[in-house]
């Protein structure tokens, strides 16, 4: 049933009473970290709200310049990746090491897929000159439209950086999983990166309607 034969036995750090204590502490720490991330993005959402309030017509005009099909595709990709991430954690909990690796790999593929779609979108914007103010050369269909692309690149760019960090973390998990670090009694890093990955997913769930859909 289980394909884990000789996993490494995790040793609890000296200042914790037991593995459960360690896991609960790590989880609380991760949640607090995610709260800081919410505030990190939060200020940008406020900036978005402010600009939208100041120039509502411009936002309507500008959002037609984004391709909602591309955004929609990326939304699907990220939701799928959240699912594969959950399954990776689950597989480790039931000692299925090969499955854990397979699901992590699937998550990685989704992450790269997301970035490729994003790259296609960005290069189209670059091509048309739809860039922040200093570099804006596109057709100004509406006054101050560079502000839309300023906040668009700022928010999706910061989100993209988070996806890149996530890719690094998932690769790290894959290597550790291949070494046999994770098993039913120890899967803390998987769980923590999982939480982070769902957060990155969730930010996109907000970005997609705000930029692509709301007219």
């Amino acid at each position: 049933m289980s394909d884990v034969k000789n996993h490494k036995v995790h040793s609890v750090a000296h200042h914790f009473a037991n593995a459960g204590h360690e896991f609960e502490s790590a989880k609380l720490g991760m949640w607090v970290f995610l709260v800081t991330e919410v505030l990190f993005f939060g200020a940008l959402f406020v900036a978005y709200a402010f600009l939208r309030w100041a120039y509502p017509e411009m936002f309507v005009e500008a959002h037609h310049l984004l391709d909602w099909r591309m955004g929609g595709l990326n939304t699907l990709i990220l939701i799928t990746s959240s699912f594969t991430m959950v399954m990776a954690v689950r597989s480790a909990q039931v000692n299925q090491r090969k499955q854990t690796s397979a699901y992590l790999l699937a998550t990685l593929v989704c992450a790269f897929g997301f970035l490729i779609v994003k790259y296609l979108e960005y290069s189209a914007k670059f091509h048309h000159g739809y860039l922040p103010a200093k570099f804006f050369t596109g057709q100004a269909v509406s006054e101050h439209i560079h502000l839309f692309f300023g906040i668009y690149f700022m928010m999706t760019g910061l989100h993209g950086v988070h996806v890149l960090v996530g890719i690094g973390l998932i690769v790290w998990l894959l290597i550790r999983n291949q070494k046999g670090d994770f098993y039913s009694d120890f899967f803390t890093p998987l769980e923590m990166v999982g939480l982070y990955w769902h957060f990155v997913d969730l930010v996109w769930i907000f970005l997609f309607p705000l930029f692509y859909l709301v007219g």
Binding site: S25, V35, P132, F153
Partner: protein, 532 residues
């Protein structure tokens, strides 16, 4: 008395520089922070001396107007980001928190060490900014000036951005440590009040600092790519920057003062040999200050053109801060009542805080009232107010805490006589410098001005001469503290008769803090039940 070899402690447990640079021991990390915080304080103080010297008379004395702007920017940025924000939590707090709750270490020792290296890394950016055309924007980096000046704003803001993350990670570490690492029997209401203060501080660090991070990032991007969010010429709004900035920086003021209030609660019970008056109210007031701190940022924008209604609400909310602050002050005074007061060096700084913070707090209420603020805004009155709170409050408590826990940290006693002399110089010098500035402010002297009308000269000169008295005080302190490390008397485990857990282990503590995990079966300050 111990199974560990006699004379073994966290300082001599392992040897060599490398054992310090790679240490995961919260006590060693705290001591390393202390060293760099002291260096930052000296550096920021040096800039303060230089800029006060320039203000000795109107017109040019030593520096050009631009150099003067750079001096006060560096003084402010270094004192805020490198000294006072990390001062008590990262140095004393790091050392103390696990000891006070009976834990072996903080929850995430590696994260703790990375916070320290992030601090160093951020400091390098700030030092780089200093030599590469120091920023001249003031520590507030207001747009549009900060997006147009030719000085090195980017490296300074990136430095502050990185220091912000150091602060966030310390905050996360402390929250989890307090939730998960308390010794058996230490319920929330048996925690020392210092721990409550650090907890409230950590909440602010975690909730406010990310907003500063993104604001500074936006500023950097604004300079590099001109996204225009803060630029009226491109359709943006510079007031948005002020809102973002103060959404962090006002709570940050409470990041600075709350741990100081925690130190105060410890000092007053130990040196009055009396149970704290109103334990729960002090604990709750820390949380109340943390919560209200997020709702008052608009009082920095009374004259920036925010709506009158917003200003009225912010003014009212600002008044509310006075309530939990006063709860603490009254409770400290009530604790002293009928206590056996023992005036040692730490208690001298307790008294300094009590007087100076009250002056700083009251003038803060004055500035929070709408009509007065219009008159006093951006004058020396504001400068005097926040120095009374930050230096008269936080720095005094920091020094009090340093003197209180010095024997625990290093196992050495310093000279009480020298400490008293240094305290006297610092108290007199501080009031010479800053009380004068209240007078200057009410007479209409604007802050950050390079030159001034001749009639202000006597007060400016008096204020400047105070900085020299202050400097003598700090030099005496540096001398006797270093001297104590070399020749000081061996400190007993509990030199002051404190009741909290850190006094129940040896001085300096062993690496694991306690021989056996302590079991807590009483409140933290039960002087009425315990005979010391």
């Amino acid at each position: 008395m111990s199974q560990v070899a006699v004379g073994t402690n966290y300082i001599n447990a392992t040897k060599g520089l490398k054992s310090w640079l790679t240490t995961l021991d919260h006590k060693r990390i705290g001591i390393m922070y202390l060293l760099f915080i002291a260096i930052s304080f000296a550096l920021g103080g040096f800039f303060a001396l230089a800029l006060r010297l320039e203000l000795l008379n109107p017109g040019k004395l030593l520096f050009s107007a631009k150099q003067y702007n750079q001096l006060f920017t560096l003084h402010g940025a270094i004192m805020v980001f490198l000294f006072i924000v990390p001062s008590i939590p990262a140095s004393i707090g790091n050392f103390l928190l696990p000891l006070q709750i009976g834990a072996k270490d903080v929850a995430f020792p590696k994260l703790n060490l990375s916070s320290f290296y992030l601090y160093l890394f951020g400091a390098i950016f700030c030092v780089y900014s200093m030599v590469a055309g120091a920023a001249d924007t003031g520590w507030t980096f207001y747009t549009p000036y900060s997006t147009t000046t030719d000085t090195s704003v980017i490296s300074m803001t990136l430095g502050a951005f990185i220091l912000g993350f150091s602060s966030i990670f310390t905050g996360i570490n402390f929250i989890v440590t307090i939730h998960k690492m308390r010794a058996p029997g230490m319920s929330w209401f048996r925690m020392p009040l210092m721990v409550w203060a650090l907890y409230a501080t950590a909440i602010i660090q975690v909730l406010a600092t990310p907003v500063l991070g993104i604001t500074l990032l936006l500023l950097v991007i604004e300079r590099v790519a001109g996204i225009g969010i803060f630029d009226p010429a491109l359709g943006g709004d510079p007031i948005l920057f002020q809102h973002f900035f103060w959404f962090y920086s006002h709570p940050a003021v409470y990041i600075m003062i709350l741990p100081a209030m925690g130190v105060m609660s410890e000092l007053v019970t130990t040196f009055s040999k009396k149970n704290i008056f109103g334990y729960k109210m002090i604990a709750y007031s820390s949380l109340a200050i943390a919560i209200i701190s997020f709702l008052v940022w608009g009082h920095h924008l009374f004259v920036s053109g925010q709506s009158d209604y917003a200003a009225m609400i912010f003014s009212l909310l600002t008044y509310l801060v006075a309530i939990p602050s006063a709860v603490k002050v009254f409770n400290w005074i009530a604790t002293m009542y009928k206590g056996e007061i023992d005036i040692k060096a730490p208690f001298l700084y307790f008294l300094a805080f009590l007087f100076l913070f009250c002056i700083g707090g009251f003038t803060g209420i004055m500035l929070g009232s709408l009509s007065l603020d219009v008159y006093l805004h951006d004058t020396y009155f504001v400068v005097a107010h926040f120095h009374y709170v930050m230096m008269g409050g936080t720095v005094m408590a920091f020094l009090g805490g340093l003197h209180y826990w010095w024997p625990k940290m290093f196992g050495k006693m310093y000279s009480e006589g020298a400490a008293f002399v240094a305290w006297l110089f610092i108290m007199v010098g501080f009031n010479m410098v800053f009380f004068t500035q209240y007078l200057l402010g009410t007479k209409g002297m604007p802050r950050r001005y390079y030159s001034y009308l001749d009639q202000f000269q006597p007060l400016h000169a008096f204020s400047t001469s105070g900085t020299w008295v202050l400097t003598i005080g700090f030099l005496i302190m540096a001398f006797y503290l270093v001297e104590s490390l070399l020749n000081g008397k061996q400190a007993p485990d509990n030199p002051w008769g404190g009741l909290t857990l850190e006094w129940k282990t040896q001085s300096p503590p062993i690496t694991e803090n306690f021989l056996d995990t302590p079991i807590v079966d009483s409140d933290p300050y039960e002087y009425d039940k315990v005979k010391v």
